[in-house]
Amino acid sequence: MSLKLDNIDQVVNGQHHLTSVNLSLEPGSFNVLLGRTGAGKTSLMRLMAGLDKPTTGKIIMNGADVTGISVQKRNVSMVYQQFINYSNLTVRENIASPLRLAKTSEAEINKRVMETADMLRITEFLHRYPLELSGGQQQRTAMARALVKDASLILFDEPLVNLDYKLREELRFELRELFKARNAIAVYATTEPNEALALGGTTTLLHEGQVIQSGPSAAVYREPVDVHAADLFSEPPINLIPGDVTDNEVTFDESVHFPLHQDLKSLTPGGYKFGIRPSHIGLVPSNDDDLEMSMTVELAEISGSETFLHVKNSHFNLVMQLSGVHAYRSDATIDIYLPVHKLFVFNLDGKMIQSPTRLIRG
């Protein structure tokens, strides 16, 4: 089955929650909605589920207009950020409940519940009540209930936020595996770029109620259409530096100069914003023409296997992503190297002009 959103607007109390959203989701696809809190992810999912009606626009499932059809008749399922289960029913009955409502035979219910519970590894808790379980097990129960009924559209609204990161890693992996064999459309909302990348599939970027970009996750990551897209799809956020281009030189924030090299030759003189990914800035030069800058360390955030270094000088703040564990005292002074060949270039309106992987032909 396919799902198409046709020019959707959602206005609540005079506030635009969604503006002219057009989206087309293919059968069997895994779609990530990436955006900050309040970007409209939840609003959009609620429309897809049929919990809300759009102010204008149409929702088309399998070619049929379902805009006004109630949620009970849509064959969708949804998993929320909070652990939502029926606390008065056992885990078994929780999972069985959508099947019972669909008047499935008892034998079939038993079989499907066992299969799904097995898949999500909660078989041993079937006779318990949800509130007696740990957070991870509760969320597995909610997922099992969503997966058991063969819905044609499955919505996940930041389902892993409230879990430990190791559990998150495991569940994310399982989820991707679970969907390999399905023909349902999965929609997964998240605020975390890494989650979007790890889940693969396609990513749709939402910003202030509008779709700013949509496509295969890795492609969207590498070719952001504008500053917002680049910023959204980068954790830690992409570094943005204002700069001026003259005939033969680039000046960063009136303080750092470097010659206009081959990749940037086609830029017309004027003001630009330059973007550089945190992972591309290094502690050792990667190229002869790397920009060397002396910076002060603000904080070294260490995530077990990598280090996020927040550094600054009198002109700008940068974040670097280093692999491995590097401890620095705050206020230490270090030299960093910025590869000028890996710059993203945006015009002053924020539109991307070129990326390191796609140079504009001069």
Binding site: V71, Q72, Q82, L101, K149
Partner: protein, 269 residues
């Protein structure tokens, strides 16, 4: 000096004695013969008797008083919960025209002294032919129990995330089925406490109950005045009648005991 927790136990024991000694005295009195009551003060019945209770249980004009009271209290609880549950759901889940005003107006009714409604109720129920029926008393008590019930239930329902409702609809539950099978069990503490309060205010109220009834639905409170006669008051009989009014209350507390601690916070702490 006693330590802190011993002082607590001592204090609580004193208070419990203050609560129970008068009740004990009533119980004591109810097992005494008329003669023993009048012959002077005794700490326990020297001549233990069930006569007073037997009188009550064998005389329909006595025991029907209990039956009548229980009927209108039960009716009141049923009506209160039936109308208050959907209303509280609406207040906890939706915004609608006039919602805040309506909610506030409901609560102001709880503030009305029953005495104010005495005469108009009497006329109203007489004119619709409900005078001296259980329904009249139950309905009149609803004026006080419904606002409180809506308010208490709204607090509990707001504590249940709206996502539960949505998940149920997504799973295919109809509204009615969801409400009865999923939602009500989730707020059972709230329902227990609401029932408790409805019982409480209806069971203890006498002014309206007495005014709106004559013979058919006469409450036990009104029947009890029969113990006062020309020869004075039959203390033993009065005490036995009193003891019997305490029993339904104890049963109700027993039923809701597990919800009291959580429920009395009224979903608002």
């Amino acid at each position: 000096m006693m330590n802190y927790s011993k002082r607590k136990v001592a204090g609580l024991s004193l208070y419990v004695m203050f609560l129970l000694v008068p009740i004990y005295w009533l119980l004591n009195m109810s097992f005494k013969h008329k003669e023993e009551v009048l012959s002077g003060l005794t700490l326990w019945p020297s001549n233990f008797t069930f006569d007073n209770y037997i009188t009550i249980f064998t005389d329909p004009s006595w025991y029907m008083g209990y039956v009548n009271s229980l009927i209108y209290v039960a009716l009141n609880m049923a009506i209160t919960l039936t109308v208050a549950l959907p209303a509280a759901y609406a207040f906890s889940r939706y915004k609608f025209v006039g919602d805040k005003h309506l909610f506030f107006w409901l609560l102001t009714n709880r503030m009305a002294p029953p005495a104010v409604f005495l005469l108009p109720f009497f006329q109203l129920y007489s004119s619709v032919g409900l005078f001296d029926t259980h329904l009249a008393v139950a309905l009149s008590h609803c004026l006080f129990s419904v606002p409180l019930a809506v308010w208490i239930l709204e607090g509990f329902m707001s504590g249940v995330p709206r996502e539960i409702d949505e998940t149920a609809f997504i799973d295919g539950y109809s509204f009615q089925r969801f409400f009865i099978r999923i939602f009500l069990p989730m707020i059972r503490s709230g329902i227990g406490v609401t029932a408790f309060f409805s019982f409480l205010f209806s069971w203890v109220e006498l002014l309206l109950a007495r005014t709106l009834t004559a013979t058919e639905a006469k409450p036990i409170g009104a029947v009890m005045t029969r113990t006062i006669s020309a020869e004075g008051i039959d203390w033993g009989l009065l005490a036995a009648a009193g003891v019997l009014t305490i029993i339904p209350g104890i049963l109700v507390i027993w039923l809701v005991r597990n919800h009291v601690a959580k429920g009395f916070a009224l979903g608002r702490v």
